[in-house]
């Protein structure tokens, strides 16, 4: 009796444990009831979408943007690809041509394509563009309301294919608001929104699309969205490039990096947006048909963003250029690159991302100037630039990585960048001493006799690579005698950055088009007019709150010349020289995104060899990928 019961109980336990074995083997799961061959599965880097049924992208913060909505369903006037583009970096999308400004840049005239239709069969016209502006200006709680209200005096649609923007003041870059790099002001369907009482509280579910895909189904818990190719895909701006390959797109939340890697190894996730370098290495090793932007090391796609240490220049210590330069010269960028990317990074000594068109436009032409750049520490004159840093990195990597590390100098420059500022403790010491700092034992003391404490804000596991780089830099500062600490912000980042509630931050305030040499994308907001007092919130970009009369002049000059005017590059170079002298931010490297693409079911992904688009899944221009994808055999 006794043992009977026991064995029964034990058997029950054993069954419970063995139950998984009895089930059909299925690791992560793929969308059910859709032929895998017609389906492209992409990561939605926003993760699980809390407000899953919200598609009104013109409202603040509501649902997901990168769930396929801006990539597959919406459209706007122009796109600039951070890479070469299918037909050049610049693409006229809803617009038939480039914007036409009047002489003093107070009016922008746009010619629209005809024959494009919303997915509910209504034709797209200039009225939709006008409504996009008018509705948002009228509702101050909408996302682009302030931007539009600030710039636009009025908008006119004299005929279905013409829109005229009257601007409040000269702005040669106004079209940037309607130009997709990552996103832009998307055009909303007038015929839907004009019937809505409060457009800010309208969920736009189910969304009416203007691009080639339309919503098929989505998870009310926000883990997946499935989009279906429109029957009338030819009546969209993407139709010009031919029929998109995948009939279905699934934007899914595959979970944390570990799970993403496993999912792709199981061929259940075609495009991973981003993972850790280690995860990328594992995929490159074990995923037979997985690859990154580069086929080998360093794998990742360099975003047109410049990762760096951004100083809060309203901070008492960091107001001083000498301190900023001293902190720069304490850094050994090789160790930072190793810590952050395991070497898989493209370094930059100047404050322009070393990606897209920029190396040709800025880095290479300015190499000679950078080499000759000299700082005066008061005791000595130093030429801080070391042109061989990228090569040193490849030399460090080669023993473990072998032949995938290039030897060719041009290739090294392409993948790893050029040189960087050489670690120079002596010069750093001299600079700090000139600024009034004293070393007490191993510890730097501020001019008022307190230990020099410096916090470096990181985003924690929201951006692990930057956190790793930051940890390394803090360690180097500590070794140099500064009481440096990591400061994890995570969710509070936006507020703290806006409020200037940080000493220094690792991330980026320099973002560019990538595919275009114009720097106004970030630089315009660096004008001193936008800088708030200490303690007051401040619009994003230029969190360093750095102002300089020379910079204001450069910005103002740029506003007065055409987008494609070659003089823009010259002004950009002036900016680089100024920032190099002042060091309001320490440029480190491009933000490399380890986008991993599995070629098992689909081929034709953009790569370094065929750079027709940015592969990163959350960028609006990843739609160009769809038309180039072909089913694998």
């Amino acid at each position: 009796m006794i043992s009977m019961r026991t064995w029964l109980a034990a058997a029950a336990m054993a069954t419970a444990l063995a139950l998984p074995g009895a089930l059909k083997v299925e690791a992560q799961g793929i969308p059910q009831n859709i032929p895998r061959k017609e389906l492209l599965i992409l990561e939605n880097p926003e993760g699980t979408i809390k407000n899953a049924g919200w598609f009104n992208i013109w409202a603040i913060n509501a649902g997901s943007q990168s769930n396929g909505l801006q990539q597959a369903a919406l459209d706007t006037l122009w796109y600039i690809d951070p890479e070469k583009g299918i037909d050049g970096a610049w693409d006229n999308s809803l617009a038939a041509a480039k914007p036409e400004y009047n002489a003093d840049f107070t009016e922008m005239r746009v010619k629209l394509r005809r024959g494009l239709f919303w997915s509910d069969g209504v034709e797209f016209t200039s009225a939709d563009v006008k409504a996009t502006v008018d509705i948002q200006v009228k509702n101050p709680n909408m996302r682009f309301s302030a931007v539009l209200a600030n710039n636009v005096a009025s908008v006119e649609a004299p005929d279905p294919e013409t829109v005229i923007f009257k601007l409040k003041r000269p702005n040669s870059r106004f079209h940037a608001n309607f130009t997709v790099r990552w996103g832009a002001i998307w055009i909303l369907p007038k015929h839907v929104f004009e019937k809505v009482e409060d457009p800010a509280k309208f969920d736009f579910n189910k969304p009416v699309s203007l691009s080639a895909y339309t919503l098929h189904s989505f998870d009310p818990d926000g883990k997946w969205y499935i989009w279906q190719l429109r029957e009338d895909w030819q009546r969209t701006s993407l139709g010009r490039f031919g029929k998109p390959g995948p009939k279905y797109l699934a934007y899914v939340d595959p979970g944390p990096p570990d799970k993403r890697v496993i999912a792709q190894l199981n061929n259940e996730l075609d495009v991973i947006h981003d993972i850790s370098p280690e995860g990328m290495f594992r995929l490159a090793r074990d995923g037979k048909k997985s690859r990154g932007w580069f086929n080998g090391f360093p794998y990742g796609h360099p975003d047109p963003t410049l990762a760096g240490v951004i100083f809060n220049t309203q901070n008492e210590h960091l107001k001083n250029r000498d301190v900023r330069w001293a902190l720069t010269l304490m850094i050994d960028v090789k160790a930072v690159v190793m810590a952050a990317y395991r070497g898989a990074a493209t370094i930059s000594a100047i404050a322009v991302p070393p990606t897209g068109i920029h190396p040709e436009a800025y880095h290479k032409p300015m190499e000679a100037w950078v080499r000759d750049f000299e700082i005066d520490t008061g005791k000595s004159k130093v030429k801080p630039y070391d042109p061989t840093v990228a090569k040193q990195i490849t030399d460090m990597l080669r023993p473990s990585m072998g032949d995938q590390i290039p030897r060719d100098e041009k290739e090294i420059a392409n993948s790893f960048g050029l040189g960087w500022w050489k670690q120079n403790p002596q010069a750093a010491t001299e600079l700090l001493e000139r600024a009034g700092y004293r070393k007490q034992g191993a510890q730097w003391m501020t001019p008022d006799g307190k230990p020099f404490v410096l916090r470096l804000m990181v985003e924690g596991d929201l951006r692990p690579v930057m956190t790793r780089a930051g940890t390394m830099i803090v360690q180097q500062w500590r070794q140099a005698g500064i009481d440096a600490r990591i400061d994890v912000a995570q969710g509070t980042l936006l507020t703290r950055r806006a409020a200037g509630d940080f000493d220094s931050f690792i991330g980026w305030s320099v973002e560019t088009w990538g595919g275009h040499q114009d720097l106004s994308y970030f630089m315009d907001s660096w004008h001193s007019a936008f800088v708030a007092e200490a303690g007051k919130p401040q619009p994003l970009r230029n969190w360093q709150r750095w102002t300089h009369p020379e910079l204001d002049k450069i910005i103002e000059d740029i506003r007065k010349i055409d987008f494609d005017d070659p003089k823009g590059v010259e002004l950009g170079k002036d900016y680089v020289k100024l920032v190099t002298r002042e060091m309001p931010l320490i440029p480190l490297m491009s933000y490399n995104v380890f986008t991993a693409m599995d070629h098992t079911y689909w081929t034709g992904f953009p790569t370094a060899e065929n750079p027709y688009a940015n592969p990163v899944t959350n960028w609006g221009n990843s739609r160009y990928m769809f038309v180039r994808l072909k089913p694998a055999n």
Partner: protein, 335 residues
């Protein structure tokens, strides 16, 4: 009946107190946050373009009104309570303007299902096996189970969940390790969806059950091994009462009463475990919602989830307490 009413009223008073203290704690903590939801929204909005200072000021005004942050501390506090009583926690910041309550309402069934299932299974299984182990103290397989339970139960939920995920997700990939169900299934009472939900819940539930069974097992075993020496059991034994009857009606039944109390007391702890487990397995319940809300700095949502979890756990405790006299008729007279 009268005494039951008294008992129930006392329990209800305790419930009200728990909820009152808990929610006030949550309110005070959240409102001490340095996160300013208005500034956070502005930051998010302005990251897309060049915004003039006037436009920002305008935006700030309207957002403040929207988040109900106007007025003094007292006014905000009373607004807060009236909102809690209406289950209205305002709009979520990270999913603006979706109301927090609708986000929680969506997540809650997942958590309740997972938690309820795991709790009931582990409570029943743990008590059954523990009772047997306490009664048949010489039985080898039960002794072995005791060792297993002892080794497993002090381990935190996170570690067990992680270990399960590694084993059944990576090393021996048998089961889904993320999400609540497979993709592109219609949620509802249809067979494929139910099967998929069951399959997705195995690992999260197992991680809760493994620990739960262990602690109930050990608790029950020690209770039973004490109860078997009690007079009424010894008396029944020397009276030659059927051993099965003794095990059932005299030993297990009597040990059950403190175990029910224990269930009520540890409900908070079990809920904690579910929060963590959900996060590890990406389960779409309130645990994931809470952790993500913290990452997103969404204070309305954090407060809402905390409040609802305090309410939920206290309600569960109240329910167990109210049913308790069924198990132990004595409670009604002791005050």
């Amino acid at each position: 009946m009268r005494s039951y009413l008294h008992y129930a009223l006392r329990r209800f008073a305790q419930f009200v107190l728990v909820v009152f203290i808990g929610i006030n704690l949550a309110y005070v903590i959240t409102h001490a946050t340095p996160i300013d939801p208005v500034e956070q929204s502005i930051a998010a909005v302005t990251s897309f373009g060049n915004t003039a200072p006037e436009a920002i000021a305008e935006m700030r005004r309207s957002l403040q009104e929207l988040y109900g942050l106007n007025g003094g501390w007292l006014e905000q506090y009373s607004t807060f309570w009236s909102r809690v009583l209406r289950a209205d926690f305002g709009p979520s910041l990270s999913a603006f303007p979706a109301p927090v309550s609708s986000l929680i309402a969506r997540a809650l069934p997942w958590t309740l299902g997972l938690l309820g299932f795991a709790t009931i299974v582990s409570w029943l299984l743990g008590n059954l096996l523990g009772g047997l182990a306490g009664y048949y103290q010489q039985n080898r397989s039960l002794k072995l189970l005791g060792v297993l339970a002892m080794a497993l139960h002090p381990v935190p939920y996170y570690i067990v969940a992680l270990a399960l995920m590694i084993v059944f997700g990576f090393i021996w990939p048998l089961l889904p390790i993320t999400g609540g169900s497979a993709m592109n299934l219609e949620q509802g009472w249809n067979l494929p969806f139910i099967i998929s939900v069951a399959k997705h819940s195995i690992l999260p539930a197992l991680s809760l059950i493994l620990i739960g069974v262990g602690s109930w097992f050990l608790g029950m075993r020690s209770l039973v091994s004490n109860i078997v020496t009690e007079d009424h059991v010894v008396y029944a034994e020397i009276a030659g009462v059927d051993p099965r009857r003794i095990l059932g009606s005299y030993v297990m039944r009597n040990a059950l009463a403190p175990q029910v109390t224990g269930l009520a007391m540890s409900l908070g702890g079990i809920f904690n475990g579910a929060v963590i487990t959900e996060k590890v397995f990406g389960y779409p319940g309130v645990g994931t919602l809470l952790v993500d809300a913290v990452y997103a700095g969404d204070y309305g949502l954090v407060l809402g989830v905390t409040t609802v979890s305090i309410l939920g756990v206290s309600l569960g405790v109240l329910l167990i307490d109210l049913l308790y006299p069924l198990i132990d008729p004595r409670v009604q007279v002791t005050t």
